[in-house]
Amino acid sequence: MFSVRQLAHAYDGKDVLRVDAWQAEQGAQWLMLGPSGSGKTTLLHVLAGILRPSAGQVTVADQDMMALSPSALDRFRGKHIGIVLQRLHLIDSLTVLNNLLLAQYLAGEAQDAARVCEVLASLDLDDKAHAHPHELSHGQAQRVAVARAVVNKPKLLLADEPTSNLDDARCVQVLDLLLAQAHACGATLVIATHDQRIKSRVPNHYELTGVAA
């Protein structure tokens, strides 16, 4: 679960985000909707603990994020939060296998090759373990990014515009994937998107309207 209250963030003296209250149950699946520039990415970064908001309260998995020291926050993020970035950003110098092991290593978890293989298998990637990201198709790379986000069994899984630029068939595939993987590790899922096609597939919607000038 997570909850956000009285959240505000200003950047360069300009308000870019304001959220009164938003709460989600553990394991719930949410869409975060809103037009470009409404602060979707900013809110996602706040939930991920990579951006400290100017004001407000953020709680993820019963942990008050604002109370954590920077280094404890890093540790917490590594262990409990998985992120699928819009442009994936897999590490190209490392193999698929090592990209996933890296996620375990940096989170301070034991490096568990069995778990990595299990995740890769569940995403139909077993034969790509030793490939480098640039050798993968976009679809495969996206699945690797999802695998990397869930390998540590996070409490919260975040995805930033995962379906933009995908045709309808692929859009459905990716969405299914995220829902299934979030469900498999019992993670709360938040998908930031402006893609109207997936609205009907996810029960909970949170609409960001942007900051009134």
Partner: protein, 403 residues
Amino acid sequence: MNLATISFAYLKARRLNTLLNILLLALGVATIVLLLLATTQLDQRMRRDAQGIDLVIGAKGSPMQVILSSIYHLDVPTGNIPYKQALEISKHRMVKKAMPLALGDSYKGARIVGTTHDYLTHYDAKFASGKRWEKVLEVVIGAEVAARTGLKLGDKFHGSHGLGDAGDAHEAHPYVVAGVLARSGTVLDRLVICSVESVWAMHADHHEIKDINDIANQMKEEEKEYTALLIQYASPIAAAMLPRYVNNNSAMQAASPAYETARLFSIIGVGVDVLRGFALVLVFSAGLSVFIALYNALNERRYDLAVMRTLGARPRTLMLLLLFEGLLLALIGGVLGIALGHGLTEVLGHALKAAQQVSVTGWIWVQTEWWVLALAAGVGVLAALIPAWRAYRTDIAGTLARG
């Protein structure tokens, strides 16, 4: 998966750049190591050859030439000294030990040294085969002479006049090998050693001597000559008195090995310093190149670094990653450079051997090399310092929001 494997993966991903940096560093380190090994061994050998010899007395001329010709057998002698005067000095109360040398002939480039058994004892010579010379014309040969000329126990050969290869052969009297010395790392390795009388005998024809076995008695006193006298002092006071006594009271001159070798090293030292400076420039330009490579790589890797932060990496982990990369590069370059330095020294040793000079080998380890490795490592870490600091300060949200 740890910092080392990640660093290694990044180095591998930029193969060409990595190779260039390693090569640059390795060349610098190799030059330093080559100088280190060569000068250390030269110093060691020269010290060992001159050990226990406090003073050399030879004919007037350059004192350095006297030292080089009579201790190291590198230069030509300044001339000869009269037997009577040499004998007089040998019996001086400040002289503990005096070893005469009679030079002038050679065999295939190896110098023939007429001396006494003391000379062998002085260098603690061990025999590989045979024994010391007993009769006139019997010789003992050094290990390198044996290896190079193929002379064996019992072989006969003709010495040639002069120290070069081109001298006339002394056809009348062949030498015979009575002993072959074991390799000792001293000057003995490249000498043919015999009694003073044997050297005199080569020139016996000039003195109309019939039985060369009795040459010491048949030659007239004033015709006998030595080339030099190696002296060991009886007491430290002799250092102050004896050289002046010799220089003032005879036609001979006294030269101090300690002083002349120090002077020689200060002359060589300038060249060594220049080369060492050049090597340091190489090492530091390697450092600069590593710095530029890492700094540029930061730009390509800004998303990687941001992503690592989202995966839980602390800022200091990223800093360590960059420092480790610099260190890894430096250590590979350093180790490679040390290996290359040893190899080059060995090659140099072979070249010097062909030129009959002081022998140098690459197969030794000098403690100072640890410092060279530390220097390389230091340069690597220093070069990574600024990139590491920038990695430390990675702005995750800002970077990811832009791409």
